[in-house]
């Protein structure tokens, strides 16, 4: 059940540079493939194009040898785990997991049986009747996994699945994902900006920079021979971030001072001393709306690259 992306291109605004530009790669059957890149590089859009949540302007999506580019999202047989989980807050955990089955008009008994299996798979046996709002972040993430797996998808698409979790839970869940994958051997695509995460779980890595697939290969290949200077720069930068000590749970947002601003087209690369050096790339219009410049204090969320002026 391989997934092939062929020259996928997507523009959100007719006059702007494409968010995704001629991206091609193959995600081999039964493996985990990571889409790795900085925030705003277009990784999530690639994943959404594969899922059918966006329509490509050009290019094709081939799943298991069949062209699904024009196929509706409901019919692609994919499982998708959203960064914000997208759990139905008005349903119990059980109803959430069983949702995909119930819309297929499967019998109650079968649904219950399948849901019980999945609850034990995600180690939340006693939690079936709770509402998602009553669970912790890690538990909610696992429910989102179970819900995606319930319909027996051919491929599993994960959009920054651990992005909203703190460091400790991230590592735990990553291990759990590896074990889950070992059991199911389901073809998986994982979007992440975290090099360590990508290299730890993925057999294949697609590095995406500025909407283009900059390099495709195994983690070892990519590290050994970066295809270009931007890839090398990105890997160094991402490694530096991964190795920097991550503070207590709340320290997701770092404060710092802008030390450099460089413009390319409609995007701006902002360098922040915080006190580590962080680089954040964002659309020029958004940067201008913040009315900050070199020497100003800002707050940076390293996990998402969000930049916000301080003290407003």
């Amino acid at each position: 059940m391989s997934v092939v992306a062929e020259r996928l291109t997507k523009r959100f605004h007719p006059n702007a540079a494409p968010a995704v530009c001629e991206v091609s790669f193959e995600a081999p059957s039964g493996a985990i493939t990571a889409l790795l890149g900085p925030s705003g590089a277009g990784k999530s859009t690639v994943l959404r194009l594969i899922a059918g949540l966006e329509r490509p302007d050009e290019g094709r999506v081939v799943i298991d040898g069949g062209d699904v580019t024009r196929r509706a999202v409901q019919k692609r047989g994919v499982g998708f785990v959203f960064q914000s989980y997208g759990l139905f807050d008005h349903m119990s955990v059980r109803q959430n997991i069983g949702f995909g089955l119930s819309v297929r008009r499967i019998k109650r008994g079968e649904i219950d049986q399948r849901v019980n299996e999945l609850l034990s798979l995600i180690q939340l046996e006693g939690y079936g009747d709770r509402r998602p709002g009553q669970l912790s972040g890690g538990q909610r993430q696992r429910v989102a996994f179970a819900r995606a797996l319930a319909v027996s998808p051919k491929i599993l698409l994960l959009d920054e699945p651990f992005g909203a979790l703190d460091a400790k839970v991230r590592v735990e869940l990553r291990d759990w994902l590896e074990r889950l994958h070992a059991e199911t051997r389901i073809t998986t695509l994982l979007v992440t900006h975290d090099q360590e995460e990508a290299f730890a779980v993925a057999e294949r890595v697609v590095i995406i920079l500025k909407g283009r697939a900059a390099q495709v290969g195994s983690p070892a290949e990519v590290t050994a021979a970066p295809a270009s200077k931007p890839v090398a720069d990105f890997l160094v930068y991402a490694r530096a971030r991964a190795e920097a000590p991550i503070g207590p749970l709340s320290a997701r947002v770092a404060s710092g001072t802008i030390v450099g601003v460089s413009r390319t087209g409609d995007r701006v690369l902002v360098t922040v001393e915080a006190p580590r050096r962080l680089e954040v790339e964002l659309p020029a219009s958004r940067f201008e709306a913040m009315r900050v410049g070199e020497g100003d204090s800002v707050e940076v969320d390293p996990s998402t690259g969000e930049l916000s002026p301080r003290g407003r």
């Binding site: 959100f12 605004h13 968010a19 999202v73 659309p283």
Partner: protein
């Protein structure tokens, strides 16, 4: 990040274009018949006899006096509402105290009470047969069937507007800036004028606009306490009814069109305020 810039119409997970067009069409047909047709009917009827008749109707002394009274009532009621609205919003947003829930309910109450009852309560209180009426009338103080009654009834029905608008904004804003001002040595009034008021200025403005529209347009409560004395206790909405009853239909609609213009201005003000406060 690209996703936040996506426009709703570009969603893939949405209705098919056909369904979309059908829903938009249905909504537009509905609003045209249900909302815009009555609006247009006001002006069509007002100008049925030409611009001359319209001007004559608006310039009629009875109408001019009604406009004068309505402006007077609004000029009394709106500032009182402003004082009350700011005080109540500040109190509820910033402090917890006994009776707070009751206070919020009381502020909301005029929204859900029939305007007729709003008029009735003042007749029962200040009428000659009322509880306080005889005592006051003996001393030459007339409330109902005079301007004070109209002011009170209008105040009753408009009481929630400023308070609710400002309260909603104060609750979302928090108090950090006020506290900062205090630690920097600002006095209470200084803090209020230079921090709190600017922070809530848009909701305050909108509350005032709404309050004013309601004050000028109130009919039910005012009609119960008015006494309908020509040139003295007739407001613009009552003048509309009187003209209607005098077979002066064009004039009735002409005066009604003034109130309609006020309503349209109110809507425009809302757009303006929303656009400004969204920045």
């Amino acid at each position: 990040m690209a996703r936040s810039g996506r426009r709703a119409s570009e969603r893939v997970v949405t209705e098919s274009p056909g369904v979309r067009r059908l829903l938009i069409g249905a909504a537009m047909v509905f609003l045209t018949l249900f909302l815009f047709a009555p609006l247009a009917a006001v002006f069509v009827n007002a100008f049925r006899a030409g611009a001359g008749a319209y001007a004559a109707a608006v310039a009629d002394p009875g109408t001019r006096e009604a406009i004068g009274l309505t402006l007077l009532v609004a000029a009394i009621v709106v500032p009182l509402n402003l004082v009350f609205g700011l005080a109540a919003a500040w109190l509820i947003a910033k402090f917890s105290f006994r009776g707070k829930g009751a206070m919020v309910t009381l502020i909301d109450l005029p929204f859900s009470i029939s305007p007729v009852i709003a008029g009735l309560v003042f007749v029962l209180l200040f009428g000659r047969q009322g509880t306080l009426g005889p005592w006051l009338l003996e001393r030459g103080v007339q409330i109902v069937f005079a301007v004070p009654g109209i002011v009170l009834a209008t105040l009753f029905v408009t009481l929630p507007f400023v308070a609710r608008e400002v309260l909603a904004q104060m609750q979302t804003q928090g108090s950090e800036e006020e506290e900062a001002a205090l630690t920097l040595g600002a006095g209470g009034w200084r803090m209020f004028w230079s921090i709190t008021l600017p922070k809530v200025r848009w909701s305050l403005l909108y509350g005032i606009v709404l309050c004013n529209a309601r004050a000028m347009g109130e009919f039910g409560a005012v009609s119960v306490v008015s006494g309908l004395i020509r040139g003295e206790t007739i407001t613009v909405p009552l003048q509309v009814e009187i003209l209607y009853n005098e077979y002066q239909f064009v004039a009735a609609f002409a005066v009604a069109s003034l109130l309609t213009l006020l309503a349209l201005l109110t809507l425009a003000a809302r757009r303006f305020v929303e656009a400004r406060s969204a920045r």
